[in-house]
Symmetry: C2
Subunit: 667 residues, 2 copies
């Protein structure tokens, strides 16, 4: 056995042993893909195990996240701060080695993967970011940003639609530094891929404009080595290296079958596999010293590589101090001083009614010249979502300096790409589409929330208020589902002044993504001299207005319906019923407030409550209470001018007033 082979077997059996000890996991892929992973990590990957956050490292994505044991093994073997003990604790409570790779444990995992296709598309976001930073900051004699984005993908990744979306865009954008190794093992859980996946992947990717290499023998060291070299030499197309492998390679009874995929081999079969591959160590988790020494060279190499880069940065800072400062600021994620000045006086009550999507567009265009790292775009709806950053150029069209991305009609990839951009660092990404199409991009929103990434999702056309396009385009259930996602801040502002606050919250939020929910229809700008200041949105909910200091009734609204609640409050006032009108723009922010504050907004003794929102009522009882009524839409929408729909659906001040009077009568 050569030293290379010894190292590959070390990687292979460390993963197999981890799965076996956990009695749970996926041994098959590590056994087949160990060669390509080893060659990539040993001979190509630029990284510094002692600093997993070094910005100019190559990125590595295990898109086939089920092979997590292989990634953890690589991290341990190359000297990241992931002790062997943690590999022995694979998939156990409190370990830093969960079932699928998770960013956030400081182990060196670049991105959380597992749901197939996500990593594939995240990588496109990373490559976009690398290119954007390189274009902005590199100078002919100073290449301070210059790295590859690698991924290992599986058959499943290739089947998921999101990969197609991302691949097509990557081809269009000519992202030459994207290099993906496709572990083509012909096996999926239900059997041979012949039954579901006979397509010619090479031809398909050539159609996308990719540089396709192979199929090669993915278990041949030389073949993988030379394929990666060829991929690196291609500058203007992303590369796909098709690596034929055998799932469960080495296992005499399970190799090449689906049964090697998702469950431990069993102790007997582990022993047989070790025997077959000439692995003579009986003790599980054995790491031959020779192999460990070889893997550990990554530490010294990484140290040197980063030191060289730091010298480069020093020279760069001397030559281009302004650019270096800006680069540092971009990478820090900090907001520049004064980024939000003047926003508070941007909108005035005497302005004409304006849709919150328009407010948002204006706000973005005020912030954008001050906040260099704000970069994003829409899934082919920019004119409607109002998300174009003016005079900021278009990425990948004339050059790669533009701040405006064009994702095409690809919401799912858009979400993943934004997540990848945030994970790369240097950019604060935003996405934009209609709220209904959130349904196309839920997996990446969830993963960004899990990774606590600063991504801003703009969702416009947020209710039946979009009118004529009809129920296929009118969200009903979307807010409820979104609000239930941990770590995601959801804000549905009611007017321009609340929209300003929403944007402030989104940009200042470094603990997770924020979803901004905007209307298509126009809304008056609220008069903050008469009403409470919009800064109340920072607390998620606040008393907008009350008819008396001791109201009998609470009316609650969000977004466009807050105006209806306010109107109802004033009608009730005329009827001698004192109401408090509450804006509940963000449930999660409100729920995170101290109890005292929450009680000041929704005093428990005021039980007569009516809420209104042009969406499913699910979840509203928490705020409306046992005695209260939640007005909403528990059906699909309708195609008509929006004012008609509001009227027909009972989204009116009159309805709120009627409900209040009914509750009062019943009391």
């Amino acid at each position: 056995m050569t030293l290379d082979e010894l190292c590959i077997n070390t990687l292979r059996f460390l993963a197999v042993d981890a799965v076996q000890k956990a009695k749970s996991g996926h041994p098959g892929m590590p056994m087949g893909a160990a060669t390509m992973a080893y060659v990539l990590w040993d001979r190509f990957l630029k990284h510094n195990p002692e600093n997993p956050n070094w910005i100019d490292r190559d990125r590595f994505i295990l898109s086939a996240g089920h092979a997590s044991a292989m990634l953890y093994s690589l991290l341990y073997l190359t000297g990241y701060s992931l002790p062997l003990e943690e590999i022995k604790n694979f998939r156990q409570w409190g370990s830093s080695t969960p079932g699928h790779p998770e960013y956030g444990f400081d182990t060196g995992v670049d991105v959380t993967t597992g749901p197939l296709g996500q990593g594939f598309a995240n990588g496109v976001g990373m490559a976009i970011t690398e290119r954007w930073l390189a274009e902005h900051y590199n100078r002919p004699e100073h290449k301070v940003i210059d790295h590859y984005t690698y991924a290992i993908c599986s058959d499943g990744d290739m089947m998921e639609g999101v990969s197609s979306e991302a691949a097509s865009l990557a081809g269009t954008l000519k992202l030459g530094k994207l290099i993906y190794l496709y572990d083509d093992n012909n096996i999926s859980i239900e059997g041979n891929t012949d039954i579901t996946f006979t397509e010619d992947v090479a031809q398909r990717f050539k159609g996308y404009g990719w540089h396709v290499i192979g199929p090669i023998d993915g278990m041949n060291i030389t073949a993988v080595d030379s394929a990666i070299r060829i991929a690196q030499s291609e500058k203007s197309r992303p590369s796909l290296i098709i690596c034929r492998t055998v799932i469960g390679y080495g296992s005499p009874n399970k190799a090449g079958t689906g049964s090697a995929h998702g469950e431990p081999l069993g102790e007997e079969e582990v022993a047989l596999a070790k025997k077959q591959l000439g692995w003579h160590y009986e003790e599980p988790f054995t790491i031959p010293q020779e192999a460990l020494n070889h893997f550990h060279r990554a530490k010294e190499r990484g140290r040197q590589q980063q030191a060289e880069w730091q010298n480069k940065m020093k020279a760069y800072s001397n030559a281009y101090p302004d650019a270096a400062r800006q680069l540092e600021l971009d990478l820090s994620g900090d907001l520049p001083v004064g980024w939000d000045s003047d926003l508070d006086s941007l909108f005035l009550p005497e302005d004409k009614p304006i849709a919150t999507r328009e407010d948002s567009g204006r706000i973005m265009n005020i912030i954008s010249p001050r906040l260099h790292s704000l970069v994003g775009g829409s899934a082919d709806l920019a004119p409607s979502t109002k998300t174009i950053l003016k005079e900021k150029g278009h990425f990948g069209i004339e050059n790669y300096r533009g701040h405006n991305l064009h994702f095409g009609v690809r919401e799912h990839a858009m979400g993943c790409i934004a997540g990848g951009m945030a994970r790369h660092g240097g950019i604060i990404p935003y996405t934009a589409t209609f709220l209904i199409f959130y349904d196309y991009m839920r997996p990446p929103v969830r993963l960004a929330a899990m990774m606590r990434q600063r991504v801003i999702y703009i969702f416009t056309h947020d209710s039946v208020g979009l009118g004529e396009d009809g129920p296929t385009h009118q969200p009903v259930e979307h807010l409820a589902g979104m609000r239930a996602i941990p770590n995601l801040t959801v804000i549905r502002p009611a007017d321009a002044t609340e929209t300003v606050e929403a944007w402030k919250i989104a940009l200042e939020n470094r603990l997770g993504p924020t979803a901004l929910i905007f209307t298509r229809q126009k809304l008056p700008v609220m008069d903050r001299k008469e009403l409470a200041p919009a800064s109340g949105v920072q607390h998620g909910g606040y008393v907008l207005w009350q008819a008396s200091p001791s109201p009998q009734v609470i009316l609650i609204g969000t977004g466009s319906e807050l105006h209806i609640a306010l109107e109802a409050g004033k009608i009730l006032q005329k009827k001698g019923i004192a109401a408090s009108v509450v804006s509940l723009a963000s449930w999660d922010l409100f729920d995170a407030q101290p109890e005292e504050y929450r009680k000041s907004v929704l005093p428990p003794d005021i039980k007569v409550r009516v809420s209104i929102e042009a969406a499913a009522t699910l979840g509203w009882k928490k705020y409306a209470g046992d005695a209260g009524v939640a007005i909403g839409i528990d059906r699909f929408g309708a195609s008509a001018p929006y004012k008609t729909i509001y009227e027909k659906f009972g989204l009116t001040a009159k309805h709120m007033v009627d409900e209040v009077e009914k509750i009062l009568k019943e009391k």
Copy 2:
């Protein structure tokens, strides 16, 4: 102007006028795609305007649903029961011509479209169904099922990942009777598709195994005619006809630009376009009699075609009476007498604990031999979702008679295909994947609910109870989002006996889709001698057990956590606190019960309530009440053996008991 050209202009301007009058809609695509639509409908489409439900009609899907005005115009012109008045009422309240085509208005729309990519993938489901029925029922001399599935798709359809998934599967399955016309107009909302979509669509589809024709001039009648003929002659590959067109064709100032896409041309531009195309009728909605006569031939032709088919059916019934009876039953959607016999005695309390996914698998395999039309499959997780119908064959593998479909790792396409199968008729489709991957397939679930189609979605691995795979695979927020969807029945049974009821409800539900939520982990079979009968699930919720006829406390659970609630109830009993334990397996079914029933299960005067569910608590306050406590998971999950997670997350009887005691103390 030839008669064909006159008809095409009639179609074009009827759509343009409808959009103009509505002051809302999409004129550009009808102007460019009118030729291909006309040629297809006039020369090829087998349909009977007087009977839009004729089972052997060709299916037509306008995947680019924004061109709805064109479809409505086609329906009106060929004599469907869609009066001109309704076209004039385009996008208005109460009309049968909503903004995007909707099934359910009896106008002849085959499937609801609008969200891009959905129709593309629905069509694959229709073609699968046609093939399956043909294989089962046709005899050499009797072709009773024999029709094409056509669609018109746009650039946006091609970009959406779901189309890639569906296309790859259609190629694998060699669905030769699928013929798609791709309206390749090079324009999307943000501009020329060059900025986002430079891929070679022909090469990509060849990679999928499709028969690609063109690019042809999609506005040339002869070219479209001959392309469709060539497509029809190809028997073993789906066909894609790439039709180059000009968006907004005829509009002197807007043709070929994004501004023709999504807003009315404006009266002036409409006039200019009419002039440019030699349309001399000033009055909007003018239908030249000559054109109408020509279009109306479809009625006579359709009548004849259906009459011929009925003769075929008569001969078939005589020759193969049993097959004909079975075909009729399949098409009716009725359940055969006795389909559910013995199910109630299938599981016994003395059985070993068993996961509800396993229960479901056993139930399906009892029903399947009795219910011929039950056909479905999984997105490459059949061994885990337990959804294989034994001895029922595998569609597309050895032949096309199999009841088991293999969707590959393509959840989104799976959802759409099932929707298309249901809309075709003759099959009761089911899908299966893990609940977490519901996120990949939300759009088709929503559309099936909107269309009220009988689709059964099986979602297993329904909570942190799946254990080691960790938070990337553990649903938290999914139930909340799902429960907020109108017309969708969501059932989360607690054990084998409730699973039987869930399956009964799903199959008997003809008013919409049903989502069945099953565990990965094993659960005891509840002893129904001691507890209330599982048939209570039919009401969505029921009292499972109570310590006394006048309980002080209500404990509510669903699924696997109902066992915890029951355990807590018994602990409280020992402590002298009488609890009622409620199963709330389906919120929507429960909410639909008469108030009296609901109050009998959750008496309003019992305010001490604790609910438990291994999911987000959002929505639970409605049942737990102001004074109650909802135990759940408002964070992401964890990777560990599931019993550890339950313990660490407080999903325990002890926690329920503690909360009850706390509330009682505070009272």
